[in-house]
């Protein structure tokens, strides 16, 4: 189960997901009010990428 393995991610995976979150937020910031982003997405992050299912888990 994805949620159970997050604590065991290596540094590289954490860095990748952290950077992806940053890029996604930058992109969302181009079309959505920044206050709304701060209010609702402060505790929202990318927790996984599933290459097989082509899914980004947020």
């Amino acid at each position: 189960m994805l949620l159970d393995t997050i604590d065991q991610y290596d540094m590289q995976t954490k860095e990748l997901l952290y950077n992806l979150r940053d890029q996604i937020l930058d992109h969302v910031g181009q079309s959505v009010d920044s206050k709304k982003i701060v209010s609702f997405l402060a505790k929202v992050g990318v927790i996984g990428l599933d290459e097989a299912e082509k899914t980004v888990h947020i």
Binding site: D7, L17, Q23, S31, V32, D33, K54
Partner: protein
């Protein structure tokens, strides 16, 4: 998402922008999956960053762009860090057959806050404009009297604030803040279900507003009598 409430809000406001962002910055074949992960309740989780700092400069620029007057900013919503959108007005609300009465009632509440419809209870499915309408009332109240303080809170935020205040033994400080509020707008009240202590505290806040003839506006996805796991005395107050 740290909890179900945030999940609901993100689905409501961000599903499309997040999907578009994933396509643009990662891979346009990937789709979005929104899940609850309680680890994100910790602000310092390694997969999170401090976006408040990141968006601080954009916020300043954005506020100029939206031409929000200082009085409009003078709401306790800002204190609680919640969006109170000045663009949600009656002029920008699309009126149809299904929402004409709600629109008229909201306008009446805005023209005579605390008297015309108090409380004003707005209910309907997601996406029908309940948040827009309740904030339109708030904006109208502030525009007609910039000295008024309007507080908009999604109920999840209200619950968080009450729980934090109880833990910190500062409940009275929190309740005192509501004394300064002239109109209280609480969104998605159905999420109060099963929160007995919060219901009790909210009941007191609600009664205080009603007694002082201060406007209360509530929104829900269902009418008061269909709210489940909410105290009957509170439901009956909603249906006044």
């Amino acid at each position: 998402m740290p909890n179900e409430f945030v999940l609901t809000q993100v689905k409501k406001f961000f599903a499309k922008p997040l999907q578009e962002a994933i396509h643009a910055v990662y891979n346009n074949q990937f789709s979005l999956s929104l899940v609850v992960y309680s680890g994100f309740q910790d602000d310092k989780h390694p997969l999170l960053s401090n976006i408040k700092k990141k968006f601080q400069s954009i916020e300043k620029a954005g506020s100029k762009k939206n031409d929000i007057s200082p009085a409009m900013k003078n709401t306790l919503s800002e204190y609680f860090g919640i969006l109170f959108d000045p663009n949600y007005t009656f002029d920008t609300f699309v009126v149809g057959e299904h929402n004409r009465f709600a629109f008229s009632a909201a306008k009446a509440a805005a023209e005579d806050p605390g008297n015309a419809y108090n409380p004003l209870f707005l209910y309907g499915n997601v996406g029908l404009g309940k948040t827009h309408l309740m904030q339109a009332v708030g904006n109208a109240i502030i525009r007609s009297d910039p000295g008024k303080v309007v507080l908009y809170l999604p109920v999840g935020k209200l619950i968080d604030e009450i729980v934090s205040a109880i833990k910190a033994n500062k409940l009275q400080n929190l309740i005192k803040k509501f004394d300064d509020v002239d109109a209280l707008l609480i969104d998605d009240i159905q999420f109060l279900a099963n929160k007995e202590k919060t219901q009790e505290i909210f009941h007191n806040i609600f009664n205080d507003f009603h007694m002082k003839k201060k406007q209360v506006i509530l929104s829900s996805d269902r009418p008061p009598k269909e709210l489940s796991n909410i105290e009957p005395r509170l439901k009956s107050r909603f249906g006044l």
